[in-house]
């Protein structure tokens, strides 16, 4: 393993984008998912229409079996809908796209965080973070260790870079998994019960990080069964029996959206166009405190 060299240029650099109106990050229409089993067919998602905008930090709550993880799998492309249209970042991910093309798209546009981390146990944290850069072809081979180290620094794990996952705590493993999810600087992060296997202190650290990322312009969608976490997100979706039955936004959230775009049977969201968020070209600065590390950017590129 090469030791990351001193940075020649900022490892994490913002692209500069202008934006004057909310932009859909996820736009789904009529999503149905039916599973076939020996006992017959079970329709887990019954026709979901939902739009999630760039920069939102969204929680998706629901009881076990409500369809929340299935919906997440439709968004990540890990499973396929039986019917419906899923457009993410302007790409219709199920129409005329092969599995390998979808995989390539996923690598560049989506960061996925799992409940059980899914770090490869035989690789160091640094190697685990570097892995995701392999197929995206966004970073030169020589640049990858440096970028991976910067991402570990972002989540406060630079001192553990050469350790194996088994040698750090579960909370640290999840932070490393988030660093990996950010490896290719995706605009969208999806997390399936990311705190479900963590103590409350570690869980708070994860949610703090998601908040920072959303403020920096990432879109974060988090599945959880823990209602206490929904107070931290800017928008809360509730799913039951395969339908979105609740959709609310924080009153003071400045990322409220046009009424015509509000979704869900019980939407209580505010409905105003958000002020244009400034696209700030900023450079990574490791000397900043964690709360200052992430620059704001509405496109979600770091």
């Amino acid at each position: 393993m090469n030791t990351p060299r001193a940075s020649r240029k900022p490892v994490v650099e913002l692209a500069q984008h202008g934006m004057s109106s909310p932009e859909a990050m996820i736009d789904m229409h009529g999503i149905v998912k039916t599973f076939k089993s020996a006992a017959g067919e079970v329709t887990v998602l019954k026709g979901i229409d939902l739009t999630i905008y760039r920069g939102e930090f969204v929680s998706l709550v629901g009881k076990s079996g409500s369809g929340k993880s299935t919906l997440l799998n439709m968004i990540t492309g890990i499973d396929h809908p039986t019917q419906g249209r899923m457009v993410i970042g302007g790409t219709d991910i199920y129409t005329s796209v092969t599995e390998s093309q979808r995989s390539r798209w996923r690598g560049r546009n989506l960061g996925i965080v799992f409940q059980f981390f899914q770090l490869l146990p035989m690789l160091t944290l640094l190697e685990n973070v570097m892995l995701s850069m392999d197929f995206a072809e966004m970073y030169d081979f020589e640049e990858r260790p440096e970028r991976a180290m910067a991402l570990l620094k972002l989540v406060g794990l630079e001192a553990f870079a050469n350790k194996l996952p088994a040698l750090v705590s579960t909370g640290q493993q999840q932070l490393a998994a988030i660093a990996r999810a950010l490896a290719c600087d995706p605009p969208l992060l999806v997390a399936d019960e990311p705190t479900g296997n963590l103590d409350s202190k570690s869980a708070n650290a994860i949610i703090d990080l998601f908040e920072e990322l959303a403020r920096a312009g990432k879109t974060v969608l988090m599945v959880t069964h823990d209602p206490s976490l929904t107070s931290r997100t800017t928008r809360n979706l509730t799913i039951a029996d395969g339908w979105i039955v609740g959709d609310s936004r924080k009153e003071n959230d400045d990322r409220s959206l046009p009424e015509s775009e509000a979704t869900g049977a019980d939407s209580t969201s505010g409905a105003n166009v958000p002020p244009a968020m400034e696209g700030i070209a900023s450079h990574w600065d490791a000397s900043q405190t964690p709360g200052e590390r992430l620059p704001h950017n509405e496109r979600g590129r770091l």
């Binding site: 092969t98 989506l110 490869l120 690789l123």
Partner: protein, 266 residues
């Protein structure tokens, strides 16, 4: 306990070969809230090239800990593990963390009970990952090799699928292909059939047997299934952190060792 160095000798090979893997007085003690727990109590063992070694023991006996000492995934409390993957002896626990990670990537393939495939990557991508880290193959070369390895484990038709779209047995085949990515001389497998049905387990075992007999790989496999013992070329039984004095030589597909007692034990 005194360490002993017993050279390995096979019936069909009069030449004395240095051991591929050698554990010398390996002790592992875990500190817990309840006090210190000795998981390994002075293990001495040698494993030669093209052996298919089964480490058998009950839950908590220390078999996975023993495997972790060979892979360097966990640190030992005292003792030494020497591996001659490319002929030269390497004391793996004396390496720095980044050095051992690099060494492991080139010389060891690891297979887990829970497969450990990355769910967001296709099968062929999962296999390419270790190659890309190792830097031994070009991107084009690594894809070609990954497809070749998928053919070896008879699953090439699913190359562009995600792990969730294939069965558990197929996922384990992919994990084996990934473990072979950098063509390591040694494979270690921790309960690789532990979450598979018996028919699927048999297929996985056959893949391992093929790798030993046809490719000369050395495989060290942990299992709690004693019925598998005759299938290994050698079985090490572990109980309460100690190797049992006698171990069984298998009469399966591989070569049988001349001696049938655990080296280093009276």
């Amino acid at each position: 306990m005194q360490s002993m160095s017993i050279p390995l000798q096979y019936p069909d090979s009069p030449a004395v070969q240095p051991a591929l893997v050698e554990l010398l007085d390996v002790i592992k003690v875990y500190s817990t809230a309840a006090g210190e727990f000795p998981a390994l109590k002075g293990i001495n063992v040698q494993i030669g090239k093209s052996e298919f070694v089964g480490i058998i023991g009950k839950s908590g006996a220390g078999k996975s800990t023993l495997l972790n000492m060979i892979t360097g995934v966990d640190h030992l409390t005292s003792g030494e593990v020497i591996v001659r993957a490319d002929g030269s002896p390497v004391s793996i626990h004396k390496m720095k963390e980044d050095e051992i990670a690099s060494w492991r990537g080139q010389h060891l393939g690891i297979v887990y009970q829970s497969f450990q495939l990355l769910p967001m990557l296709t099968l062929v991508e999962n296999i390419m990952l270790p190659m890309d880290l190792c830097g031994k193959f070009s991107p084009k070369g690594s894809r070609a090799r990954a497809l070749e390895l998928l053919r070896l484990v008879e699953i090439e038709g699913h190359a562009d699928k995600l792990p969730s779209q294939i069965s558990g047995g197929q996922q384990q085949r992919v994990a084996i292909a990934r473990a072979l990515a950098n063509d390591p001389p040694i494979l270690v497998a921790d309960e690789p059939t532990g979450s598979l049905d018996s028919v699927t387990s048999e297929h996985i075992f056959e893949v391992f047997e093929h790798l030993v007999s046809e490719q000369g790989k050395t495989i060290v496999m942990v299992t709690h299934d004693e019925t598998l013992a005759p299938r290994f070329t050698r079985t090490l039984e572990i109980l309460d952190g100690e190797l049992m004095p006698m171990n069984r030589a298998g009469d399966g597909t591989g070569r049988r060792l001349v001696y049938e007692h655990t080296p280093g034990l009276a």
